[in-house]
């Protein structure tokens, strides 16, 4: 029995690690070696610049504090939403939840256009205020400001907190808080002293993901923040692509990775302290319809705010795709044009082919990252294990590293490292799936691990005493309980793959255009028809993703996913 369990653990340990070794560490080390020692000799002369000016210290400082501020804002704004989604059941809930995730897949340039339409100098908000207040100049200037960077980071990452914290919260026993209230604690004290500590594992996992995302922010900083702002990622891109200063870029990459690693190490230690096994409850017991007037009001005010923040930009895009055409009024002209190859171009992308490519890559990414993520989580949840498997916590930070690694660096690493059989993957579409999985894996692990660690050991012991094999314990105790969290991870994996553009554009690839690539193709040249078709394709992307999210959330195998 014991041996079989070990075998299983070893296998689940090895596969994710082999994956990381082959597709993360090997390419990374290859490109770093090539950068620092191009002719086999270590040369640090190009690094003088790094220490010679205060510029890079300033960049690191800005990168850190804007990420911290963005994380605080996102968590603060999304927490009330997570509460609602955890405790109440109301009509339209799954659609609203799907809509909050859409921003995650949209290309930055498209989001920037939507923001301009709403918040730009001649956007809806400014023209409205001008009329209202009788001004002759736009009162709000958000163009290229820190405020718009923060706003965009909240816009993109809100869903991370909503989903990860919401799913965890939904299985917390409400009776704990009720007991505290009964004993005389007021609402705020009960939340602070009972619920918040219980939520800590999920909350910190979500905050960590948001932080790393903002820490490595690229498009938002460049396009919305403008060229005055630079994060490490932006600087790595510039040094690599524009100056081909590989040593400097590699040094910045290493700093970025070390920073992520240090953060993860702190987080892992903290996690060990805040995580405790809980009596988790099914959401059938913890969720209910709002009853009193006040509860309904609370729900609708919050949903209203959520929609205002997250869906007005989306609505602006959809609206423009339908109304901008020359015929005036509402028309589907741009959508019809999508289906015509008017120029007989060899690079014409039929919309259905783009949808098929995107969804194909995304499903493969979901499958691979969920399998690997479950394995990794099983290994990292090592309670009751002795020897090596009792010490697997040190592996945890490794799985997060890809998220904190520059896409430019890793992309070039692929070119350098994966060029020989059997790993000659440089021009293979498989490389796209592998790259997407690398980014998606941390999301699956971070979603699943808190739920897995919250399972009370008594449950497993009981199953074991009754004669269940380790696999059966996992299959019939662990999996049903964490299924919700797995679905959350799967939604993120799907989202990441559907929206990913940066890394894909850095990999040399044969023509297999995804939807974001098609959008960028349209926006690459002037002309109203191109603009309109880019908007139409963006709307199509939103539609496909919404359907995808709802389908994944409904996904059930037997009782898995019901908890």
């Amino acid at each position: 029995m014991q041996d079989a369990g070990r075998c299983l653990l070893l296998a689940s340990c090895l596969l994710p690690l082999v994956f990381l070794l082959l597709f993360y560490f090997y390419p990374l080390v290859s490109i770093l070696t090539l950068s620092f020692a191009p002719n086999g000799r270590l040369s640090l002369i190009p690094l003088e610049k790094l220490f010679g000016t205060p510029r890079y210290l300033q960049i690191l400082w800005f990168t850190t504090w804007q990420a911290a501020l963005s994380t605080l804002l996102t968590v603060g704004l999304a927490l009330p939403g997570a509460y609602l989604f955890a405790r109440y059941d109301f009509p339209g809930k799954s659609l609203i939840q799907a809509l909050t995730t859409i921003p995650f897949v949209l290309p930055t340039i498209v989001v920037a256009l939507a923001f301009t339409a709403l918040l730009g100098p001649r956007g809806l908000l400014n023209t409205g205020l001008m009329q209202l207040l009788g001004l002759d100049r736009p009162p709000l200037n958000l163009q290229h400001t820190l405020a718009i960077i923060l706003l965009a980071h909240v816009f993109y990452n809100y869903t991370l907190v909503l989903r990860i914290v919401g799913a965890y919260w939904a299985n917390l026993d409400p009776r704990l808080e009720e007991a505290a209230r009964m004993l005389g604690a007021n609402r705020w004290r009960a939340f602070r002293e009972v619920t918040l500590p219980l939520l800590a594992p999920a909350l910190s996992a979500a905050a960590l993901l948001v932080f790393i995302f903002c820490f490595t922010s690229f498009g938002v900083i460049l396009v919305l923040g403008g060229p005055r702002f630079a994060t490490l990622e932006v600087e790595i891109y510039r040094q690599t692509i524009h100056y081909l200063n590989l040593p400097l870029a590699a040094a910045l990459s290493v700093i970025q990775i070390l920073f992520t690693f240090a953060l993860m190490a702190v987080y892992t230690r903290l996690q060990a302290r805040v995580q405790r096994p809980l009596e988790l409850r099914s959401r059938q017991v913890t969720q209910r319809r709002p009853q009193r007037r006040r509860e309904w009001l609370l729900v609708w005010i919050n949903v209203g705010l959520m929609l205002a923040l997250l869906t007005t930009p989306l609505a602006a895009l959809v609206g423009r795709s339908l109304t901008l055409s020359a015929t005036g009024g509402v028309s589907l002209d741009f959508y019809r044009q999508l289906f015509r190859n008017t120029r007989d171009s060899a690079f014409y992308v039929p919309p259905l082919a783009a949808v098929r490519n995107s969804v194909g890559f995304a499903l493969a990414t979901v499958a691979l990252s969920v399998v690997l993520g479950l394995m990794a989580a099983a290994v990292l949840d090592n309670r009751g294990e002795t020897g090596f498997f009792g010490k697997t916590r040190f592996l945890d930070p490794l799985f997060m590293l890809p998220l904190g690694t520059s896409a430019v660096t890793l992309g070039l690493g692929y070119i350098v490292a994966l060029d020989e059989p059997p790993l000659n993957l440089r021009a293979s579409p498989l490389l796209v799936v592998l790259a997407h999985t690398l980014v998606a894996l941390p999301f699956v692990v971070r979603s699943v691990l808190p739920a897995l660690r919250a399972i009370h050991p008594h449950l497993r012991e009981a199953a074991r005493v009754l004669g269940a094999s380790p696999y059966r314990v996992w299959r019939e105790v662990d999996l049903p309980i964490v299924a919700r969290a797995v679905l959350v991870g799967a939604v993120f994996a799907f989202t990441i793959s559907m929206g990913e553009f940066g890394a894909t554009s850095l990999i040399a690839r044969p023509e297999r255009p995804t939807m974001p690539i098609a959008i960028y193709r349209f926006l690459g040249r002037p002309g109203a028809a191109n603009y309109g078709q880019a908007l139409a394709m963006s709307t199509l992307l939103m539609l496909v993703c919404t359907l995808g999210f709802i389908a994944i959330e409904r996904f059930r195998v037997g009782e898995v996913g019901e908890f």
Partner: protein, 356 residues
């Protein structure tokens, strides 16, 4: 127990081979030519078919990011090249590629049809395919409404009546942004009483806006491109943008909605090259493809697909292009060797003046 591991492995395999994702394995087709290019590459379906039929060969196009990313990829994979032919290296990146020694010389018989001034490399390691100019564009209707004359040259932009009207791209992250900076370097020079940096300092005082890239500038800030939401009627774009606006317009135009500033020295000419990569698997077919790209069939298909001018003098221009396209007579001159040598210093100095 074993079964579980087997299932896990099968799961992994299945995951890897999802729908439509089977990897091409084994050796490539006997006759195929791999062309590595940037993601703005575009050409007619029939044009490629002409080559494929003529040579019984397959053309595999490998898109490798923007021109900068592509050149870097080619340099890093020099020992084991990703493709046989590289298309899309331009004069701003040329000397980096030549220094890395990744191309094989090829003196195509069609070079005779290409004007000498486009042939930058005397050793024929790279062959010019097309060219185009990065120039200021303006919104005609906006200037009509305001009763303002559009600018005629770079000098105009710093005068008070054009205050707060211009958007340019970041020279450190965008290729038209860099090209425009090069135009100012070529026009105003680096030494003397009034250098390109003095010009930029004046532009900043006159309220120039710097966007991250062409997309953000054109669609987000340019009054015409953004459909009235942006507030900048002057933008750094291409001399070919007006014909593209006409070609992709929603309703037929009698004249282009945007104009180009073509004053002497106000544009920067980009020349795009094709080259055979060292270690090409099928040199003969690679040469045939290069010849094909320089021949009139391909050349005549360039304008309406990539909106650049064909390098071959014998190529006829499509009507939609010929009618609205503009070729500035005196673009600014900057030597390509100087570009690679000074790019970083110029961009750093520019950043210092414009952004800090």
């Amino acid at each position: 127990m074993k079964r579980v591991i087997v299932f896990a492995l099968i799961g992994l395999l299945l995951a890897g081979c999802g729908p439509g994702l089977a990897t091409p394995t084994g050796s490539p087709e006997p006759r195929s030519v791999r062309v590595m290019t940037h993601d703005s590459f575009d050409i007619g379906e029939e044009t490629i078919a002409v080559f494929e039929n003529q040579y019984y060969a397959e053309v595999e196009i490998l898109e490798a990011g923007d021109a900068g990313v592509m050149v870097n990829q080619a340099i890093l994979s020099a020992d084991n090249p990703l493709a046989d032919v590289l298309y899309g290296v331009d004069n701003t990146l040329l000397s980096r590629a030549l220094e890395a020694d990744i191309f094989e010389p090829y003196e195509s018989p069609l070079l005779g049809d290409i004007p000498d001034h486009l042939e930058l490399d005397s050793q024929h390691r790279v062959l010019p395919v097309d060219y185009g100019d990065v120039c200021l564009n303006y919104d005609k209707a906006w200037f009509d409404e305001q009763g303002l004359t559009p600018p005629a040259n770079l000098e105009d932009l710093v005068s008070p009546e054009y205050a707060g009207l211009t958007v340019v791209e970041d020279a450190a992250s965008s290729s038209p942004g860099l090209a425009f900076l090069l135009a100012t370097v070529g026009h105003f020079g680096e030494t003397g009483d009034y250098t390109y940096l003095d010009y930029w300092a004046e532009l900043v005082d006159n309220g120039v806006l710097v966007a991250s890239d062409w997309e953000a500038a054109y669609w987000g800030h340019f009054t015409y491109g953004s459909g009235g939401e942006g507030d900048r009627p002057i933008v750094v774009s291409y001399a070919s943008s007006p014909p593209v606006e006409v070609y992709f317009a929603e309703e037929p135009f009698e004249e282009a909605p945007t104009g180009v500033v073509v004053g002497a020295g106000s544009c920067f000419r980009q020349v795009e090259f094709v080259a055979i990569l060292k270690g090409a698997q099928n040199r003969e077919l690679a040469q045939a493809w290069v010849d094909f790209m320089l021949g009139t069939t391909f050349q005549e298909d360039i304008p309406l697909n990539m909106f650049m001018f064909p390098a071959n003098q014998n190529a006829a221009l499509a009507e939609a292009f010929a009618r609205f396209a503009i070729v500035p007579e005196h673009p600014a001159e900057v030597d390509y060797v100087a570009i690679e040598a000074n790019r970083e210093a110029w961009v750093e100095a520019w950043t210092e003046v414009v952004l800090r």
